[in-house]
Subunit: 186 residues, 4 copies
Amino acid sequence: MPSISCSDCYKNNSTMKKKILALVTGGTFDKEYDMITGQLFFKDTHLHEIFKRGRSTLDITVRTLMMIDSLEMDEQDRDIIVKNCQRSSFEHIIITHGTDTMTQTAKVLADANIENKTIVLLGAMIPYKFGMSSDGFFNLGSALAFAQTMPSGVYIAMHGECFDWNDATKNRATGYFEHLKKMQDN
Amino acid sequence: MPSISCSDCYKNNSTMKKKILALVTGGTFDKEYDMITGQLFFKDTHLHEIFKRGRSTLDITVRTLMMIDSLEMDEQDRDIIVKNCQRSSFEHIIITHGTDTMTQTAKVLADANIENKTIVLLGAMIPYKFGMSSDGFFNLGSALAFAQTMPSGVYIAMHGECFDWNDATKNRATGYFEHLKKMQDN
Amino acid sequence: MPSISCSDCYKNNSTMKKKILALVTGGTFDKEYDMITGQLFFKDTHLHEIFKRGRSTLDITVRTLMMIDSLEMDEQDRDIIVKNCQRSSFEHIIITHGTDTMTQTAKVLADANIENKTIVLLGAMIPYKFGMSSDGFFNLGSALAFAQTMPSGVYIAMHGECFDWNDATKNRATGYFEHLKKMQDN
Amino acid sequence: MPSISCSDCYKNNSTMKKKILALVTGGTFDKEYDMITGQLFFKDTHLHEIFKRGRSTLDITVRTLMMIDSLEMDEQDRDIIVKNCQRSSFEHIIITHGTDTMTQTAKVLADANIENKTIVLLGAMIPYKFGMSSDGFFNLGSALAFAQTMPSGVYIAMHGECFDWNDATKNRATGYFEHLKKMQDN
């Protein structure tokens, strides 16, 4: 049985129904293929369709803040993300984000010292719309789970793992996030 | 910051690399369509393919215990599942399982009082092999996350939620699992 | 250059815009998975969705005659199919049909001696809705092509080939249609 | 019954087993998404996989001539395509090709006056690898059918239709091929 012996464990009490906020910022996760130009572009977020396909019964509110490649994010864009997290009454937040500068946004969020909120950034290496080869669906499932169970803080959820905000770096050659800190075996 | 103030929070320290055991028992999750007979049947588990598609970097060991519809599970089958969990050195276990009798197996596991292990059962309403309409991929992502973060105990992970073993019942009309206990709002 | 030297070649003049009639009778082609019962069943035909996905610019009219497994077809059902072909003003007709008794329906149509019409039956071994593994999409593309180019008569289009109505038999062990007549090499 | 009253109808005798040559030149049809660069690129052709998925029983020989975007094709590239068609003993040839300059290649082939061969170019607006949204699979099914039934000559098979080589123009705004000649109703 979960022992409610500290404020962090409180979050792990699974009889607590969590309200989750999903902030959309774009990234490869939501890109689509434009058959006329042969380029990738953004239309609307696919989150609603994905929750439906996952048969999600979670209480999720979706807000699209922007739909951009994270390489194009600037200080104002990150400020919008921070402000939305700060002002929100939600204690569990996921943020879809391009993988290229996800760690930068994670740092800005951590530096803002937002209390009592579990914020999980996630992305995809292959657009969700590209079907059976996309990791987006899997990452979303794990991010939503981490958002419900991790203690307050800022995290990155990619390829099944949950990284502390200051423990992740994207390996641009392989496309994987790696731990900066020394990993202890379990 | 996660405060390591109790043994349960210990599990939430994301610098701990978790070794996960995935036990396969079958269920709709792993069913395939037999074009000759027009029926669904089992071949091998698709877990390896799914982890690859999700680009999972988790340390997961897969063991197929059986490939059956959970309606066909009997006492001996459940005993095999329990024994495999008991004897295992893994502290984080996911079990793919048919949704029809998932709560029965969860109860048998809970009654076995297996200490220091987080055991998460998951399934799918639509076979993973049926492509874009399957909830299997999403459930697996969340189950792996819950297996890493939830305190010791037995859980059911379906459609994004994590149910205590004694808090879930499958609504056979809708195909969704529902909470038995009164839900508190967050 | 195509020489319009006989009435059959007339059909091959690609500047002739063909109006095509698509008659839906069911079969594995249009089956769906019912997650509540775990069985396959019929809802509506997916033909419209398939034409859209194939970006078809053909002039196709769709009529659903029935949605049944072809093993359940009886004399009256086949009579409905024949009458619809006879009364129709369309000269190019495709019929989606279960593969199990497709040759029976083909014979009944041929025996009806319907003049000046190219009638092509097609089916699938895997439901279109099962995604990337379905042969339905491919068979439909070829059937529509054969319906535009073959001389008047009744045909079966499966796995890329066009069989004369009396030249096909379904191999129930392999799921493939085979030629009854001796094949000449080209 | 098909009347073998002219050399062109000969091709429509479905008891003639046709050997088909599939020449691969690239184009959107065979492009893939490179998750590291975020760009589309070429690896190997997917034709073999597609024939398997369509459960094709056709006698098809695949030869990859090049894997390029058709905007990059030059005179030498087109010469390679022409020579391969000329020297080949196959009488039925399909050519996967980018849609942007498909009509140019079709003209060069027609000008080469290759006798006794039915040559059908096809492409896709969405890469086959992008799954459920690709028109590639459908176009391939129809192209293979047209290659078996059309009289000698050069054609373009796109979105279900078969265009004479000099009757097609790609509408770059919509992505569809349109007829240049006046269409007669059937």
